[in-house]
């Protein structure tokens, strides 16, 4: 049972490489910030909270789509770990 769970767990991790982790974090912060400011200004100018909600909602969905799925281009710079050497020549 726990072996199956572990399998699912491993499958669901869907990792991305280290430089991309940094990049997605910055991307996510910038898009949401710009989206929030744009939504506020747009809503204020049109005097409609509905517009703010829609604008911010769209920003959120776009951010999710950009950041969450493990696209192949987020996995191009995999860290190469040093291979363990067998200590035979000691």
């Amino acid at each position: 049972m726990s072996a199956i769970l572990d399998e699912i767990q491993k499958f669901l991790v869907l990792p991305i490489d280290f430089p991309s982790q940094k990049r997605t974090f910055e991307l996510q912060q910038n898009i949401l910030l710009i989206g929030a400011i744009a939504a506020s200004i747009y809503g204020f100018l049109t005097q409609s909270l509905y517009n703010t909600l829609i604008c911010y909602g769209v920003t959120f969905v776009v951010t999710l789509l950009l950041v969450v799925p493990p696209y192949p281009f987020y996995n191009k710079q995999k860290l190469q770990w040093v291979q363990p050497k067998l200590a035979t020549n000691l």
């Binding site: 669901l12 997605t24 974090f25 949401l32 809503g43 005097q47 909270l49 911010y56 999710l64 969450v68």
Partner: protein, 209 residues
């Protein structure tokens, strides 16, 4: 940002944080809009005229009577004019307008509502009433209302889409003080008959909460 769930969580947390910032901006900007260009807390005016009271005696619990003793019930009719359109901005869901009267009863100020209305959009914000009847019949807690001086006021309450509720009072012009006439003894029995008829009619249902 390593795993899928982690990325989802980070994005959602950030989104919630920013939405709180947006809410703060909405609340602050709509508050400023109430103060500029004109301060609605001081500059909302209303005119009231032709306030005329009418009194009946009723013996139902729903009209304030207890232990079967009849109680004086007062209604008024009035003219009212006021413009509430400056209260509408992007954070106004509705405005609740209510006409109340203050009176002094046994050494303390009591306040009762005679009429209220909900305004849901800016096009309906101009209130013009001619010879309108009060929505509620009003009775005093202990003694009757006869001989009491009623001081009318028109209040407003902004219900926002998000944030704090805002209350205010209009600057009322016109004759807004009125003394209810003392009741004549001989009308008592006639009114009591009216009461029993009204009681039977009263079958309106009410939603709980």
């Amino acid at each position: 940002m390593f795993s899928l769930t982690q990325r989802f969580q980070v994005v959602s947390n950030q989104a919630i944080t920013f939405s709180l910032v947006i809410i703060a901006f909405v609340v602050a900007s709509s508050w400023i809009q109430l103060l500029y260009p004109s301060n609605v807390f001081q500059n909302t005016t209303s005119a009231i005229a032709n306030v005329t009271p009418s009194m009946t005696l009723r013996t139902s619990r729903y009209y304030g009577s207890q232990n079967g003793k009849p109680k004086e019930n007062v209604r008024v009719s009035f003219d009212l004019e006021s413009d509430f359109s400056p209260l509408f901005n992007w954070n106004t869901k509705q405005i609740f307008v209510y006409l109340t009267a203050n009176y002094n009863s046994s050494g303390s100020i009591n306040e009762v509502t005679f009429w209220d209305d909900i305004i849901t959009s800016k096009d309906k914000a101009l209130v013009q009433l001619k010879n309108a009847k009060s929505k509620y019949t009003v009775w005093d807690l202990e003694s009757g209302l006869s001989g009491k001086e009623l001081d009318f006021k028109l209040h407003w309450n902004i219900q926002p889409w998000v944030g704090p509720l805002v209350y205010g009072e209009t600057d009322i012009s016109g004759d807004h003080k009125l003394t209810v006439e003392a009741r004549k003894k001989n009308t008592e029995s006639g009114d009591a008959e009216k009461v029993s008829k009204r009681k039977k009619k009263r079958t309106k249902k009410q939603k709980v909460n």
